[in-house]
Each structure stands twice: as structure tokens, then as C-alpha cells.
Symmetry: C2
């Protein structure tokens, strides 16, 4: 019984450490994350933190997983509650814009991590690539459903449109960091509506 | 006379130091640039390098200026040799794709610097913002000329289309780092042609 409680307690502690590590990585970058500074932040010993992740890389991978879960909960889960087709696709874009909003925490951990790690082969790059591939797949799926319900032209290439929608999330993120979120979001949504019209079944 | 020669020699040395600093910043990030490691790389004393820039920030600003010049020479100058209108706009997009190509030097210094510095107020952020504003302006100008020659619809908003073209450069950069340059470029150019068609005067 006490082993079960200890196991649960360990999982709760691990989650709390990851939450803190996620915030630190959002503001300073995944590459700046160290077990030492994290241990200090959560008032634990270095070896105590180390025991949960095995290595700095293990910690970084856990933070990416956590970012992926947060992203899914923020962007995809609410959109899946909307009817398939344009309402769901619009909800994805809307929630995604909200996600890439630059706040005091320094912007999207995932995009910053891609910029840091895309030229460094290894488990972190692989993990980012997996997340990216999964998200493109979800996006292409929402697009395919929109084609299926007749709200996009039958010759629409879901992968290509997913790429084009992704590009809008990137520039809303980019512009929001330099020129402020509201004008970036407004231009992004305007571009999205134009994009959707250009794939309209009645064009 | 010897003062003139010394001045010239100083300018040549400064350029050589910046060239090296640019390469270092491309691969490790502008934020990792230090006068110490740069001095070591160019076989000079720290004080010798320091004398050229006055501070680490002065060095970082000089590197951004240098990146801006390189970008202009690579993307804008050859495009300006093309006839105004779609040929020039296509040349910009084509050269820009080539610029954001991820090579062994680690990708676009400028985009990496924006990701590093957009949430840190100060002279570096200001300098990046100036470069960005100038480039958007050039892009909007090339678009306005394309409207003027009747190759884009008269109601085209040059700033909005510049934003949309910029988004394609961002995703070609992003995808090229994760999935490889060629497929990213191909999708980017396909998206650009579709975008241009959606702004066609005969649509």
C-alpha cells in the first residue's frame, strides 16, 4: 500500500518538476535547462531531480512531451468539440493563434526548440520531428473532413493546405514577438479566410 | 598617409572579424557570441577585438548589420535586376527560399536572432525591428509595382500580401530544418503561385 502511495507521490512530484521546467524552458529556451538550476527552483537536491529523469536530455524530452500535451489540450481538444468541417478548422486556427501569442513567458517553447535543435541530430530532434509529424497529420485530417463535408474543393491537397495554414501560425508567432499580438492575429485570420476561399468548392 | 593606411587596415580587420563573428553566430546563435571566443577564432587579443566594437552588444549589432547586407545582396539586389512586376516578385521569393535554406551553418541568423531577442527590450531588438520594417517595406514596394503594372488586382493590400509572402519564407525555413530543403521549397513555391493567383486581376 505504501509503495503505491509512494509511486503516486513520485508521479505528482515529477509532474510538478516538469511544470516548473516547462516554464523555465519557455522563457530561457530548452537548451538552457539544467538539472542544477531546476533543482534550485523546485527546492530539491540535484540528485532528487536527477532520479526522476536520468539525464538532462531525459528532462528535456519530458518537457517537450509536456509541451505537446499542453498544445493538444489548448488547440486540438476544444476544436474537436466543434462540428467537422470549417467550424472545426476555424477553431483550430483561432486556438493556435492564441497559443503562439507572445506573453511574458517568451512565446512557443516548441518553435523555439525547433530553432535550437533542428540542426542537431539526436533524440531531442527526433522527438520534435515526431510531434511535428503528428500535428501535421491532425491538421491534414481536419482538412480532409472539411473536404468530405463539401466545404473545400475536392481537389484540395490536405498536406499542402496544412503547410499553408502552418505558415500562418508561424508568422503570427513571429510578428507577434516584434509588432504585437493583435495586429499579427488580425492579419493571420484575414489570410486564413482568403486561403480558405481560394480552396472553396464554388470558386 | 600612414594614418589613412592604418584607417583602411583597421576597416579591413573589422570586416574580417565581423565575417568570422557572423559565421559563429549563424551556427551557435547571436546570444552565444562572446568577444573572448571570437578573439580566439581570429587569433587576436580580447582587447584588440574589443577596440573595434566597444562592447559585446556593439559586436552583436555589427553582426546584424552584416547579416542585413548579406541578405540584401543575396535576395533583393538580383531581384531588382528583373523587370518590375511578377518577374521581380518571383525572383524575390526564389532568392529568399534559397537564403532560408538550412545549410551546415545552421540556418538564417536573422530569424534565430528574432526568436532569441524579440522578448528582450534593448538596442538589439530595436535593430532587428528596423531591419524587419525595412524589408517589409521593400517587399510591399515590389508588390505595389506589380499592382501598378496590372499583374495583381487593384484592391490588393501590399502590406497584407507582404505578410502572406513572409509567412511562406518562414515555413520554408522551418520545414527545411526538420524535413529537408527541397520538399519545403517545392511546397513554398506552390503556395506562392496559388497566393498570386488569388490576387490576380482577372480572378
Amino acid at each position: 500500500m505504501s509503495a503505491v502511495i509512494n509511486h503516486r507521490k513520485g508521479a505528482v512530484t515529477r509532474e510538478a518538476i516538469i511544470d516548473r521546467a516547462y516554464l523555465m524552458a519557455c522563457s530561457a529556451g530548452l537548451d538552457q535547462l539544467s538539472i542544477g538550476s531546476l533543482a534550485q527552483a523546485v527546492h530539491m537536491s540535484k540528485s532528487g531531480v536527477f532520479a526522476h529523469f536520468g539525464s538532462r536530455e531525459g528532462l528535456q524530452l519530458a518537457v517537450i512531451e509536456s509541451a505537446g500535451l499542453r498544445f493538444g489540450n489548448h488547440v486540438l481538444v476544444p476544436a474537436l468539440a466543434m462540428p467537422r468541417g470549417l467550424p472545426r478548422l476555424r477553431a483550430i486556427v483561432d486556438r493556435w493563434c492564441d497559443w503562439v501569442r507572445h506573453t511574458s513567458d517568451g512565446g512557443c517553447l516548441y518553435l523555439a526548440a525547433v530553432s535550437e535543435f533542428d540542426d542537431r541530430p539526436g533524440p531531442i530532434r527526433e522527438c520534435l520531428l515526431q510531434h511535428e509529424t503528428r500535428w501535421r497529420h491532425e491538421l491534414a485530417r481536419a482538412i480532409q473532413l472539411t473536404i468530405d463535408v463539401g466545404e473545400l474543393h475536392a481537389d484540395t491537397d490536405p498536406q499542402q493546405l496544412a503547410f499553408e495554414i502552418y505558415s500562418l501560425a508561424l508568422i503570427v508567432h513571429h510578428d507577434s514577438g516584434l509588432f504585437g499580438y493583435e495586429p499579427a492575429r488580425e492579419r493571420g485570420l484575414r489570410a486564413f479566410e482568403r486561403l480558405i476561399r481560394s480552396y472553396s468548392p464554388t470558386r
